[in-house]
Symmetry: C2
Subunit: 261 residues, 2 copies
Amino acid sequence: MTKRKPNILVSNDDGIEAPGLQRLVEELKTYANVYVSAPYRQQSAVGHSITIFYPLRTYEHYIDGKFFGIAVEGTPADAVKIGVLHFFKDIKFDLVVSGINHGANTAINIIYSGTVSAATEGTILKIPSIAVSLTTFNKSDFIEPAKITSNIIKQMWEDDKINLNEGTLLNMNIPNVPANEIKGVLVTKQGRSYWEDTFEVRADPNGRDYYWLTGHMLYRDSSIEFDVAAVNDNYVSITPLHFDLTDYNTFEVIRNWKINL
Amino acid sequence: MTKRKPNILVSNDDGIEAPGLQRLVEELKTYANVYVSAPYRQQSAVGHSITIFYPLRTYEHYIDGKFFGIAVEGTPADAVKIGVLHFFKDIKFDLVVSGINHGANTAINIIYSGTVSAATEGTILKIPSIAVSLTTFNKSDFIEPAKITSNIIKQMWEDDKINLNEGTLLNMNIPNVPANEIKGVLVTKQGRSYWEDTFEVRADPNGRDYYWLTGHMLYRDSSIEFDVAAVNDNYVSITPLHFDLTDYNTFEVIRNWKINL
């Protein structure tokens, strides 16, 4: 099938210099027009923040003397917003891709994820969007994950799978195993696993306390219909997410509540 | 009906000194045991951020020489986490209340809301949670909104309406009109209204550009089944929200996608 080249905006939350983003851009460029607008610095766990009390500063980022993209002193959502609405406003984007994040974004982690947030912002701007994460915090060169991601996105583009419901994004997680051990691609639901958190108290050299958030994940998802279990079983997981947070089940239960003022 | 006093944690995103929080605490104290853990500073539009790369500092906050609560140099989610898990860990909380926020948290604004984020964190910690906002950015003494909120929460406590599905929070918005003009309380859905954003470019005194996010809300909700329309029509709006972001409709459509590696 011969389709035109898609226009893709790439962002992330690990910053414009992150290898996960740079390898992905290289791969996408083999078949797409790629534009980059990403945070200047590491922005993990920022959730869906935007900068409204301060202005944004931006820098042109060059690699080997060649323009690579816009670095934004802000959040992932800021970077997508200003990329689409200002720096590349003459481009009609077919897709926003956020990633490849260094670390899984499954189950409850989705709520805190800057990577997912960049894709959410794409969707808010009415552009189909995909968040991509590699399920490890260990060092990775991102070469194989970038090829896998790029290949999946290419198929989706050619098979017209990019345009979903307005407001729906895809959250993709890639297991951190050699490509020949990956079993396939599964469409999944957000898992129910969550963190058991504690705060570790330390004293600074002047004897004043400070607190580190620490914890461990409690696994609650055994079926591969859920993202956490699918990647644990060596599948690439793709979960459709949306930003209508209404709990419709509860809505039906409580809609006739009588509450007086 | 005589029930025991509920244990309520109060937080917000406008900071521990915000009148919206302080008036609410005064009202809740008339029938509840109230504990406060709130950001030290204004934290609007932080989304569901948590602080993991830096440690948290905290301060005891006093009003008129009396201990009022814990001020956290972090986000709303941080404040709720450290309040529940560390400072008040011996308390079994019946409810987390976040607010009263100065400004509406309806429709797409929910995604960016620090106020909703604090309530979401309560729900993640398995405590029933309510976010409360007053739909104005104009100056308010918050006296009437605090009475209305406190009265609604008291009824919900007495009528056993506090405990919903695990993972479901209530997002309440109060119209900014005199109490006698409020028509009642409606259970609603998250609206579809959204922002049309632009970036305003300015030059600093050294001639370097910086960017302010600006925009206006496009109203897309005319029926009072949606939060935006309900508050515009002078109802208190209560929307059940959850943090399972799976788009189940799309899931059913795409679950049998064939994608090759």
